[in-house]
């Protein structure tokens, strides 16, 4: 009953595709536990080393999760799991590509902020305000960055699209922003950032999607423009 699939590509690559297919076909449910590495290797007729590489690949993709001493499990396959590696793109990009990513972020984040303005609840708004206040009460750049991230994260979460939130999370990865800000915050940007955040907050309170969208677009666009001019010099 074995398929004896002809050789196409490397053995490991085949194993990756086969396991991925099992999940795509629904024969492996999210959270379910897989057979042991040794079993899987024997089943596909490959060595454990190759199977381990395949598992490693799927682990990196966020499809599988290996727990030492326990077993291998399928993740919940939520956007957060699968888009974890997305941050690597932002970490390794540079130059013109950074501007491109910032443009993507501007588009998505402005839309998300607009959606949030329409849907945000009192509780979610309180979370946003917590970080807004905390950000205004400290001068430690590290802490400001943290609350800046949390501020936007809370807003995006209120938009209700988990996948979009996961993508934006990658585009706002800590190292990514730290790199851009390294020079940016030396300008008069601190005060400007606070004003822009205040504008976004006002629009959220007023439940005004259009104003929120514009404010968020302007906010990200400021950084984008600054970075653009930096590159041309």
């Amino acid at each position: 009953m074995d398929e004896t699939a002809p050789q196409k590509g490397t053995v490991t690559q085949r194993a990756i595709e086969q396991i991925k297919a099992l999940i795509a076909e629904g024969r492996l449910e999210p959270g379910e536990r897989l057979p042991t590495e040794r079993d899987l290797a024997a089943r596909l007729g490959i060595s454990r080393s190759s199977m381990r590489e395949a598992i490693r690949a799927l682990t990196v993709m966020g499809v599988l999760e290996a727990r030492h001493g326990s077993g291998i499990y399928v993740t919940q396959l939520e956007a957060g799991d699968l888009l974890e590696t997305f941050g690597v793109v932002a970490d390794l990009s540079r130059g013109p590509q950074l501007v491109e990513l910032l443009e993507v972020r501007r588009i998505l984040e402005s839309t998300a902020t607009g959606l949030a303005a329409a849907r945000i609840t009192a509780g979610e708004l309180a979370e946003v305000e917590k970080h807004l206040a905390a950000m205004n009460e400290t001068d430690d750049p590290e802490e400001i960055l943290s609350h800046d991230l949390a501020f936007h994260r809370a807003i995006v979460a209120a938009a209700g699209n988990g996948s979009m939130a996961a993508i934006l999370e990658g585009l706002s990865s800590r190292t990514f922003r730290a790199r851009v800000w390294r020079g940016y915050q030396q300008e008069d940007a601190f005060e400007r950032t606070r004003r822009e955040h205040a504008a976004i907050h006002r629009a959220l309170v007023a439940h005004d999607p259009e104003a929120a969208r514009a404010a968020a677009a302007a906010h990200v666009g400021e950084v984008e423009q600054w970075l653009r001019t930096q590159l041309s010099s």
Copy 2:
């Protein structure tokens, strides 16, 4: 002179971070060739097996590229390389998450189409029209899907943001759309799709960004809405 870095996480994970750091710090340029697996393993004081898993992980991320018999090379680190795995998300998502991804695609693709309307050249427009015509002259669903993909790909390419194009490529992966369309095309959607494509094309010819944006948003939004109602039933 060895660092003797204390144990944090698994050995392989450490190796991944170290190589990634080498690239982020610019000590490894895009296209450059790395030392051999055996060298790298010895250098970091780990076994070749573990090093291979680390390399496999970075290969999956699109950071490295292994050429059998030749060596390991750093990719060009362009968006296309790094976002290759993005398609897996679309392939493995289902249910409500598909709607979320389609919403992201609607936002990005409408913006990209708007940008394209403003910037598109005569040559790029000809490419778009080629696929538009080909799509109207066949009834083979498989071929229609191909030209549909190429139609949108050509437009997005004209927007001039390679990173955005790479993300949309993942969100429009073949298997993703095939799954959604399986039922969709049984409706009166064929004719409607052609009309919508024509509308997008008209806006491109007129170099009217706002019209192009609206047409693209409506186009993707149609499918999105259909999928949404499918899920609630």
